[in-house]
């Protein structure tokens, strides 16, 4: 099957040839299968944002290639725009990008640019609103009359309305309260499942990522430090620490239990798994 994303020997240098030259990505090779849900983590300046901006043609590789759904993004620079629809990008604090008179027009902006028919646009707007858990009643409101959480969801709906095969979200839960955070993640997971979409989630929250994704890619200083299932990645707390990251708090509890001499398996990263394991250790008698 054709891979959703295939990056080969990607290098990106900012301000090349000036005293400010910095290598943001250095010879990265990485691929994502159709339908994977990947978490991308890394400290500030690790290259996460630079990397994801290559997936919809916002950045051009200094060297190397980026293939989206089997096509080289830069094979024909005039065609780059079509990748904006295939790899939908939700930026940080996307609510600051709402601009239209009504929520409907804002969400319809992407599909309209794709040149779709009015009936098709309407269908997609309604579908997108449902995906993010907003009531259709708000479509006629001004986006500026919505609450913070609603604005965030309306902005995400604007990307979902393009039905991108690849959905990329940069810190979609930043600034939201815990319930808002869980809610957004749930809706993203639903889009992932129902559309069999490839989803890339960039986040600083280890707890969020542990709950949602099937695979984690860790970036550090422009290179891939480690890549694997949450279980594999979180089983290397020292490596993560060296990259300025950490493991979920519940994993740290288990690491400490092991230090105390308890016979626990420390590859635990959600509360649910922890409860299961502890109850099994007590012979199911809890």
């Amino acid at each position: 099957m054709v891979k959703s994303i295939e990056v080969k020997n990607l290098t990106h240098v900012y301000s090349a040839g000036t005293p400010f030259e910095t290598t943001a990505l250095s010879d990265i090779s990485f691929s994502v299968e159709k339908g994977e849900f990947v978490g991308i983590i890394g400290h500030t300046g690790s290259g996460k944002s630079t990397l994801i901006q290559h997936f919809n043609g916002l950045k051009k590789p200094t060297s190397g290639t980026v293939m989206i759904e089997g096509e080289d993004v830069w094979a024909n620079p005039r065609d780059v725009k079509k990748f904006r629809f295939r790899a939908g990008m939700v930026f940080q604090y996307p609510e600051y990008q709402l601009f239209e008179e009504t929520v409907f027009l804002d969400i319809a902006f992407g599909p309209k640019n794709m040149g779709l028919k009015q009936s098709e646009i309407e269908e997609r707007v309604l579908e997108a609103v449902e995906f993010v858990g907003l009531s259709p009643d708000i479509l006629e409101k001004s986006p500026f009359d919505l609450s913070g959480g609603q604005k965030r969801r309306a902005a995400i709906a604007g990307v979902i309305a393009m039905r991108p095969g690849i959905l990329i979200l940069d810190e979609p839960t930043a600034g939201l309260d815990p319930r808002g955070r869980d809610d957004i993640l749930l809706h993203i997971s639903e889009y992932h499942k129902k559309m069999n979409a490839t989803v890339l989630l960039v986040t600083h929250s280890m707890e969020d990522i542990a709950k949602t994704v099937n695979r984690i890619t860790v970036l550090s200083r422009g290179k891939i430090l480690t890549d694997g299932t949450p279980k594999e990645v979180f089983s290397e707390p020292e490596l993560l620490k060296s990259a300025g990251l950490s493991v979920p708090q519940v994993t740290r509890v288990f690491l400490r239990l092991r230090e105390l001499g308890a016979p626990v398996d420390t590859t635990v990263y959600t509360v649910e798994q922890a409860v299961k394991q502890l109850s099994a250790l007590r012979g199911g008698k809890v």
């Binding site: 400290h43 500030t44 300046g45 609450s147 913070g148 959480g149 930043a174 600034g175 939201l176 309260d177 815990p178 319930r179 808002g180 600083h204 280890m206 707890e207 300025g244 990251l245 950490s246 979920p248 708090q249 519940v250 740290r252 509890v253 288990f254 400490r256 239990l257 230090e259 105390l260 001499g261 308890a262 509360v271 649910e272 922890a274 409860v275 502890l278 109850s279 250790l281 007590r282 809890v286």
Partner: protein, 279 residues
């Protein structure tokens, strides 16, 4: 201990007439030197409360006193803002100068202090946030955590007795978060500055002396982190969560395990679980 912040039946509405109240008759007292975290869902009134603490917003009803000064008294506004300094979420919106030390000098210069005194305060402020080696740097070359520490230094240079931070780590990565949290703790412990930390991060709140939980403009819970996080159900119903340590203990307790919920820190939680496994 002396009280630094006191609200009496504080009420606030963004509209007039008061159709929706952002704060509903809130009465709280904060003694000087305390490290207080304020939690609450989006729209709970956290930021509205914070903005009353340095007179950015004025009460629609009731009153707010900072070191005994009534925020409604316009003649006291500079004294109030000098006593209670504010740090916001986005470091990029708070930095005005192109050199770190000039940015930190902004407030003391406006206060009309003599050159020598400004120099002393800037050096001292940068030292207290661990940014002394960057005083000649350009802010845009700094990381988010470093920029936020410069913003805090800018407030410190006014020598406030209280600092209010409105989600100062929301835009930072884990390293930046740790930098800010340890800076806050050191200002509180070593300099006796009262800290009001508004946050959505339960693990940050767990570091405070006291947590105020707001819900729909009212005070829902007020207590030490251990006391507050034991109310797992109340916290969840207010749209909040508890640290994973307490959540794990809570889930086990629900299954009938004899564990207490006061294992907030990783080591405390592990100790409780260890005793449980050994029993």
């Amino acid at each position: 201990m002396r009280e630094i912040i006191k609200t009496e039946q504080l009420r606030f509405s963004y509209q007039s007439p008061e159709t929706v109240l952002a704060l509903k008759d809130l009465s709280i007292t904060i003694p000087e030197g305390q490290f207080v975290a304020v939690l609450g869902h989006n729209g709970s009134g956290k930021s509205t409360l914070a903005k009353h603490m340095n007179a950015i917003l004025l009460p629609s009803g009731g009153a707010c006193y900072i070191a005994g000064m009534d925020t409604r008294d316009k003649s006291l506004i500079y004294d109030i803002r000098r006593t209670a300094g504010m740090v916001f979420q986005n470091p990029d919106n708070q930095i005005v100068a192109t050199v770190v030390e000039e940015d930190v000098a902004f407030a003391p210069e406006n206060m009309g202090l003599p050159q020598k005194e400004i120099r002393r305060r800037v050096d001292e402020a940068l030292l207290s946030v661990g940014m002394q080696d960057y005083k000649q740097s350009a802010p845009y070359h700094l990381s988010g955590g470093q920029k936020q520490r410069v913003a805090i230094a800018g407030v410190i240079a006014m020598r406030p007795r209280c600092i209010i931070l409105d989600e100062p780590t929301a835009m930072l990565d884990p390293i930046g978060r740790d930098e800010i949290l340890s800076t806050i703790k050191s200002l509180n412990k070593n300099h006796g500055i009262t800290i009001i930390l508004i946050t959505h991060n339960m693990n940050e709140a767990a570091e405070a002396d006291r947590i105020l939980v707001l819900s729909k403009g009212s005070l829902l819970i007020d207590g030490t982190p251990k006391e507050v996080f034991e109310n797992v159900e109340t916290m969840k119903s207010a749209g909040l969560s508890v640290p994973q340590t307490v959540e794990l203990l809570y889930e086990l307790k629900k299954l009938g395990c004899p564990v207490s919920l006061d294992g907030l820190r990783v080591n405390e939680c592990a100790d409780i679980l260890y005793r449980f496994l050994e029993a």
